[in-house]
C-alpha cells in the first residue's frame, strides 16, 4: 500500500510539473504577439510605461527557462497582480474559494443522489415507461447548455415568479439558511448535466451486473429481489460511479462552475475568471488554470489512493485510470 501511494504521488508530481510547463507555453510561447502587451491586456494599449515595467518584471528578454522560473515564482509567491484591477490575483482567488466550493459540493450532493436514484429506478424498470421517461430526461440533461438552463431559471423562477433570489452569495457562516436559499438554483443548474450522465452510467452498470454469478448465488441463497438489487447489484455498480466522481468534481469546478457563477453572480473563483476573460486580463486566467489543474491532479491522486486502500486488486494491477 505504501509503495502504491509513493508511486502514485511521484507520478502526480511529474504531472504537476508538466502542467506548469503547459501553462507557461500557452501564455508565453504559443501566441505570436508581444508577451508584455498580452499580459497587460486592455490597459497595455494606452500605457507604454506599463509594458516596459512588465517586460522588466517578467524578464521577457531573458531565456525561456528564466522566464519560466519567474512566472512560477510569481504565481506561487503571491506576487501575481492583475493589470486591470491592480489587485493581487492569489488573494482574489482565495476569496472566491468558499463560494466555489459551496456551489460545487452542494451540486455534487444533488447529482450523486439524484443520479443514483434515477439510475436505480431506470435499471429496475428497464424497458418500461419509467425507464424511457428517465432516459429521455437524462439525454436532454446531458445535451443542455449550462447557461441556457440558468437563463430559464433566472427568467421564470426569479423574475416571473419571484420564488428565488436572482443571485449573489451569502457566506455560510453569516446565515446558513440564506446561504442555501441563494444557492438552490445554481446547485440545480450545475447538477443537471451530471444527473443525466450518472443515471445512464449506473443504469448500464446495473444491467450488466444483474447477469453476474454473484447475483445468481445471492438469489440461490434465498435473498429477495429487493435485497439482491440493493445489497449486491447496486453496491457493486456504485464502484465506477465513485471513480467517475473523482474525475468529475474537478471538471465541475473548472467547467460548469465558471458559467454558473458568472450568471448567478456568485462571487467565486469562476466568476473571477469570467470577468478576467471579459477584460482579457491574463494573469488571473493563468493562475486559475494552474490552480484548477493542480487541484484536479491532487484530488485524482487522493481518490486513487483511497480506492487502492479499499480495493486491493488495484494496488496489484498498477494505477487505475
Amino acid at each position: 500500500m505504501a509503495r502504491f501511494a509513493a508511486r502514485r504521488l511521484l507520478g502526480m508530481l511529474l504531472v504537476l510539473f508538466a502542467v506548469t510547463v503547459i501553462v507557461f507555453l500557452i501564455f508565453n510561447v504559443i501566441p505570436s504577439s508581444d508577451p508584455a502587451a498580452r499580459i497587460a491586456g486592455q490597459r497595455g494599449a494606452t500605457d507604454p510605461q506599463l509594458i516596459a515595467n512588465i517586460n522588466r518584471e517578467w524578464g521577457f528578454d531573458e531565456s525561456l527557462p528564466v522566464q519560466y522560473g519567474r512566472m512560477m515564482m510569481k504565481v506561487f509567491g503571491g506576487d501575481l497582480i492583475s493589470y486591470t484591477t491592480r489587485q493581487g490575483v492569489d488573494e482574489q482567488i482565495w476569496e472566491g474559494v468558499p463560494a466555489t466550493f459551496s456551489l460545487c459540493i452542494g451540486a455534487a450532493v444533488i447529482w450523486l443522489s439524484l443520479g443514483v436514484l434515477f439510475g436505480y429506478l431506470s435499471a429496475v424498470r428497464a424497458g418500461g415507461l419509467t425507464d424511457r421517461a428517465l432516459t429521455i430526461l437524462a439525454l436532454v440533461g446531458i445535451s443542455m447548455p449550462v447557461f441556457w438552463l440558468a437563463a430559464i431559471f433566472l427568467y421564470y423562477l426569479t423574475f416571473k415568479v419571484e420564488l428565488f433570489p436572482s443571485g449573489g452569495y451569502v457566506p455560510l457562516t453569516q446565515n446558513p439558511l440564506d446561504w442555501a436559499y441563494h444557492l438552490v438554483l445554481p446547485w440545480l443548474t450545475l447538477a443537471v448535466i451530471f444527473v443525466g450522465f450518472y443515471s445512464r452510467v449506473l443504469r448500464s452498470n446495473m444491467l450488466d451486473a444483474m447477469n453476474e454469478d454473484y447475483v445468481r448465488t445471492a438469489r440461490a441463497k434465498g435473498l429477495s429481489d429487493r435485497q439482491v438489487r440493493t445489497r449486491h447489484v447496486l453496491r457493486n455498480s456504485l464502484i465506477p460511479i465513485v471513480t467517475l466522481f473523482g474525475l468529475d468534481f474537478g471538471v465541475a469546478i473548472g467547467g460548469g462552475a465558471i458559467l454558473t457563477e458568472s450568471i448567478f453572480n456568485l462571487q467565486g473563483v469562476g466568476q473571477y475568471a469570467a470577468e478576467a476573460i471579459a477584460n482579457l486580463d491574463l494573469p488571473p486566467i493563468m493562475a486559475v488554470t494552474m490552480f484548477a489543474a493542480f487541484f484536479i491532479v491532487l484530488f485524482n491522486a487522493l481518490v486513487d489512493i483511497a480506492y487502492a486502500w479499499l480495493d486491493p486488486r488495484i494496488r496489484l494491477e498498477g494505477p487505475a485510470r
Binding site: 501566441p31 451530471f194 474525475l247
Partner: protein, 347 residues
Amino acid sequence: MASPPNAESRPKGGSPWGLALRRLRRNRIALGSLGLFVLIVAFALAAPLWADRVAHTGPNATHTLERITIDGERRDVVSPDGTPIGPVWLGAGGRFFLGADGRLGRDEMVRLMYGGRTSLFVSLVAALITTLLAVSLGLLAGYFRGPTDAVISRLLDVIWAFPVLLLGIALGTALAVGGLQIGPLSLSSGSIWIPILIIGFVYTPYMARPIRGEVLVLREKEFVEAAVAQGAGALRVMLGELLPNLWSTIIVFFTLNIANNMLLESALSFLGAGVQPPNSSWGTMISTGIGLIYSAPLLTIIPGTMILLTVLSLNVFGDGLRDALDPRSRVRLEAHAGSFEPEEKSA
C-alpha cells in the same frame, strides 16, 4: 485488403456494415434525430437566402434608429429605453421575424441562421481535427508501444489534467490578444480558426485514449500477424489492417464529438474566449442576450434551444449508431465533462 477471417461462415445478411445499417434503420428514434439534425443544418445553410430574399439585411447590419411598419403600425426597432423589438413574425414581411437582438437592432432571425452556420462549422471542423489527431496518435502509440507509447500517453495525460473548458479559455484568451503564428500559418486574433483549432485540440485525449486501447488489442490479432508475415511495413499495417477495424469506433466518437464541440464552442463564445464579435454564433448570441434576460428573454432562450436541439439530436443519433455498429461496445463520451466511463472494465 483486410477481409474478416471467416467470410464464408458469415450468417446471411451481408457485410457488417449492411447489418449495422439494418439495425440503424429499425431504430426510429435515432433516425428521427438524424432527421432533426439535417433540418437544423438546412436551416443554417438557408441563411443567405433568408437574409437576401426575406429579411433584406445582413447578420451584422445594425438598424438601431430605424422604424418598421407592422400591420400598418409604425414601431421602433429599438425603443428609446434600449429594449429591442420582440418577434414580429411575418408582420413586417419577414423583417425582424424574431425581433431585434439588442441596442444595435440587428435582425435576430438572420443572426440565428448565420450563427448556426458558425456554430455548426466550428463544431464539425473541430471534430475532424480531433479525429485526425486522435486516430494518428492512437495508432502510433498502440502500434509501436514502448517509448513512443509512453511519450504520447504521458502527453495526453497532462492535457487530460486540465478541465476542457478551462484549457479552452486559457488558449482562447491567450490567442485572442495576439493571434497565432506557427511557421507559414498565421491567424489574426479574431479569426474563426482559433476556436476551431482550440476545440479540436482539447478533446484529442478523450478520443485518442480509447483508440489506443483498441489498437493495443487489435495488433495482437492473427490478421495483423498474417500481414506482417507477408512483409507489410508499419504504415501498411496501421492504415491497411488496423484502421479499417477502427472505423465503427471512429464514426461513433466523431458524431458525439460534434455534439460536445457545440457545447464547448457556445460556452467559450458565451464567456468571450471563442468566436469573436461581430461574428455571430449561438454562443455569442446568448452572451448578448443574457444582459437583456428580463426584458427580452427570447434572445437567450431561442439560440439556447437551437444548441440543445442540435446537441440532443447528435447525442441520440450517436447512441443509436453505437448500438447499431457494435451492440456490445462500452466506450461512451460524456457530453460536458468529456471523461469516459472507466475503460476496458469488462474487456
